[in-house]
Structures are given as C-alpha cells and as structure tokens.
Symmetry: C2
Subunit: 312 residues, 2 copies
C-alpha cells in the first residue's frame, strides 16, 4: 500500500476521535466510509463539521452508513470504538474484510491489537496512539481543542510501507503524525499518564488540576506511574527515568481538563476498565512487577463501572 | 470511682451510639445528661425510644440540653461524636470538666484518645470499641439491630477500677461489656475490618455483600487487612495469623450491611477519613510498614470527602 489515494477506508466507531481523523482524511480527498449510529441522521442531513485551529471544516455529503454490510470490503479499517465495546467487532468487522484489508486500531490502552490479531490475523494489524484533546457536543459536530498528533506502528513488527503510507496520508490531511517502531512501548508510555489521571478521574472524581492540587492524590499518581514504569521495564520496554516527572510536569498546563474516562463515567457510559487498568495490571504481574496501587485502583473502578444501571 | 450510682454522666454526640449506650444507662437509673442538637425538641417532647431485642424501651422525660454550660461539671463524659467533628470538643468539653472528670471516647479509629489527652490530660482518658449494629431513622428513636458489646480500656494504661466500674454499670444496664488491657491493640483489631469494609463502601460504593461477591474487591479487602496486620505488629501489637481470615469469614453473615461510612457518604455527611484511614496509615508508615493499598484508598476517600458541597 503505497498511497491511500483510491483506497477504500472505513471508520468504525464514529465518536469524536473517529470523526476527527476520518473527517480530516475525507476532507483531504480520501474515500472514507463512516459507520454511524446515533449521529447517522444528523450527519446525513447536515454533514460533518470540524472546528479546528480557528477554522470550520464542513464535509457534506458524508458517506455515512447504518451497517458495515452496506460499506462492504475496504482496504483499511480505522477502529475508533471504545474498548468496552470490542465485543461488537465480532459482527461489525467481517463484512469489511477482504484478503488484503488492513486494520488500524486507534483505541486506548492494552489488548486491542491482540483482540484483532486473534480473530483476523496478526499480519493485518496496526495500532495508533492519539494525543488529542477533542470532544463532540452535538451529533456531527467535532471540536478539536488541542494537540492531535497520532503515532502509528505495526503490531509486534517494525515500521512497514503501509504504516508510512498512512502516516503520509494523515500528514497530507493537515494532522501531525509519525511512525513508531515499537508500538507496545509507546502504549506503555501513554499508560503512564492514563493509569493515574484517567483512574483518579473516576475513583476520586478529580480532574487533572484537582489531582495535582491534592498532595495525597499527586503523590499517588506519581506512585502509580512508578508501578507502571517498573512493569514496562520488566516487559522489556525502555522508558527513561525522567519520563514520569515529565508526565507530571506537562499535566500542569492542562488545567481543569477532564480525562475521557471521567466524561464517560459522568455520562453513565462504560469506562475502558480492562484496556487502561486491567490488562496493564495482568501483564505487569505476569512479568513479576509489584503493582499494589494499580490493583486497588482497578478493583475500585471495575466495581464502580459494574454499578451502571444498564450493567446491573 | 467504685460505682456510677449518684455520679453525673454527660453524653456528647447524641447520634445512634450515644443515645443507645446513654439511654440504656439512664434506663437502669444512672444520672445521664444528653447534649442534643437536631433531636432536642423531639426528645424534650416525646422522650427517647430504644427498640432492642424485641422490646421497646421508653425514656421520658430525658435530661436533654442545648449546651454543655447547662449541664455543668460531671463525673464522666461519654463522647460519641463523629471523629470528623472532633474540633467542636474544644468548646463543648470545658464546661463539663471538673478536677476528677473522666473522659470516655466511644469514637471510631485512631487518634481520639490522643486528642483528648493532649487537651485535658492523659490521666482522664478511657476509650471504648462498640461492636453494634444500630441506627436512628427519626429523632429520638433508636433501632438496635444486632450485637452491642462494648470493650473499654484505659488510654495507655492497664485496666483500672474506674474501667471496671463503667463496665459493671453497662452490664447492669443489660448491655454486654468487657474491660480490655490493651486498648490500642483492640483498636487495630477493629480497624482490620473497618479499613477495607468502610473504605470500599465509600470508594467503590459497595456494601459488605458486594465486596465479598466481587473477586477483585474481596482480594483487595484481604490485602488491605494484611497491610494493617503488618503495621499493627510493627507497632508491637499481637494479632494472630488467622484473625484476618476470621474477619472475612464473619462478614459473610452480614449480608447487605452498609458500613457507617457508606451511610455518611450517601447522606452527604463527613466521612471519618483521618480516624479510620489517615491515622492508621501515618502510624503504620512511621513504624516502617509498607501500606501502598491503604495509601491509595486514603487518598481517594479524602478527595471524595473534600468534594461535599459544604466543604468546598
């Protein structure tokens, strides 16, 4: 895959992240097909609007569908579902998959590439980390607040031509992107932030500024980072000593930012419990790490998540 | 003090616990003076009612007061305030205290005897642990559900004559009671249960049955007990190995019981953060214990408690 020009692309999970990256690719002329649920009618009627960097990008008409059967086989599936909805992929993905179809997961945490690889073959799978502050306040309207960079890599393999192709297409769409050689290591680096800040946003109902202003929570967030750092190193990843400090320090500029898990929890939506806390805990413990604080945080969040009315 | 007959007794903090123990003593003929706030009018009008063991005990009139100035010096002050209201004692206690006045705290957790000793002298201070399931659904009406035993000891001294006197008076009032030689050790034994079960009732919103039914929470509760057990031993207390197992096993019979902290939290009242989690953590760490799960639990509960509207 040397170019995405003329290739068929499907976006599964059309929340803020899927609409932003898919929308920017479509705006740049790529052939993007969106699977939509709650936003379908609004987007078919009014198109997709992205407010980014002081600019309003309007896409209309948008190729939006109610089912993946209507989309049919594509060259690339971009997966932006919440990890808590992974089970839905068993039915959603097969209609999209042809002999050469590549899968790119933009999902949070650990276990997502493995989920895809077990079902549709490791050779199809790429993963990406999105560093973006974004939200969707009404159907079909995306507010891109800050950052946007997306790091893309192969699953357990070095950077390939197709990774370079996707990175180039995203850059051409005006979004920062880079290829990463060691995707799993990048995931652990991102988890160093997500484990404490998403975690305490749910367990202690504290936004970023509140975690940093509360001495006990700030100390705990740093201790949780150290547990993740130890686990990542036991798993063979290289993360420098000052990376955890850097993660704390850069958080001060975020102010009252609410981690995505906090918004999910407040809205009564599933929290990504296994991808962000459960799977890192299991992998860390298997590698011999001691993660008592993460064990406590995971148990608390898992129980809180289980109390949503729809899961009772 | 060889008898409580003819002695003046004050009860400060007339919630369920204060009304139950004070009410039973008054019913047995002791001279008990209650400081009351929200319940004062109802109790002055209708007296105090205790439903216990299938019996309805009616006390009327009740010696209930709006201030401790009206009560004046007494021989024994029974303190049943929530520990989160300890600061109020600076003003409440002085009018009650004469040269020989003894202080008996029925409060939860650690630090309460120390609070009294620092302000009014260690020689006055006794402490007690109440093992009782009790509630107050309307002003002046106490429902005694189960148990009731109260263990009483001196603060950092062996059992004295006055401890025996109070124990005897409580027994004579029909309530199980015993003298304990090592009060601090008894407090740690009780904390082995309160730290996990009260803690997870707030942090994970789980009652006793829910903690036990959730494998991750049950494992965490046991790990929290082990941390407390190690700390207690480093502090010189003797707690047998099987005591934590015993605490888990006895909890199965409690069913959907909500720990007092859960009720406080749900009602928007202060949670006893420092007495149950903060002070044990500080004492344990000072003694060289490793308490990472308690550290996490404490930080989370402290922050949740700080978010009550009245504390913001």
């Amino acid at each position: 895959m040397n170019t995405l020009s003329g290739k068929r692309i499907a976006v599964i999970g059309s929340g803020a992240v899927g609409c932003y990256y898919g929308g920017m690719l479509a705006h740049a002329g790529r052939d993007v097909h969106f699977l939509m649920r709650s936003d379908l009618n609004a987007v078919q009627k009014n198109g997709l609007t992205i407010f980014t960097k002081g600019e309003e990008i309007k896409l209309s008409p948008v190729k939006a569908y109610e089912s993946t059967e209507e989309i049919g086989p594509v060259d690339l599936v971009i997966i932006a579902l919440k990890t808590s909805a992974n089970a839905a992929m068993e039915k959603l993905l097969p209609p999209l998959i042809g002999p050469e179809t590549a899968l790119l997961t933009l999902q949070n945490g650990l276990g997502n590439e493995e989920f895809l690889a077990e079902r549709w073959g490791a050779e199809r799978v790429m993963g990406a980390l999105c560093f973006v502050c974004i939200n969707r306040k009404e159907p079909g309207v995306i507010h891109h607040l800050d950052h946007g960079s997306i790091s893309i890599g192969e699953y357990n393999r070095p950077v390939s031509q197709r990774v370079k192709t996707v990175v180039a297409a995203i850059k051409a769409a005006g979004v920062e992107s880079r290829a990463v050689e060691m995707l799993a290591q990048e995931r652990w680096r991102k988890l160093l932030w997500n484990i404490p800040f998403n975690g305490l946003s749910v367990a202690a109902r504290a936004n970023v500024a509140e975690v940093l202003a509360d001495e006990s929570l700030r100390t705990l967030s740093r201790s949780l980072m150290n547990e993740a750092l130890d686990a990542a190193r036991l798993l063979g990843h290289t993360i420098p000593d000052d990376f955890a400090d850097h993660q704390i320090n850069r958080s001060y500029s975020m102010g009252d930012y609410k981690a995505s898990s906090m918004i999910d929890f407040e809205m009564g939506r599933p929290v990504e419990v296994e991808a962000i806390w459960g799977e890192p805990l299991r992998q860390g413990i298997k590698a011999g790490a001691s993660m008592p604080r993460l064990e406590a945080l995971y148990a608390i969040i898992k129980h809180l998540d289980s109390q949503r009315p729809e899961t009772k």
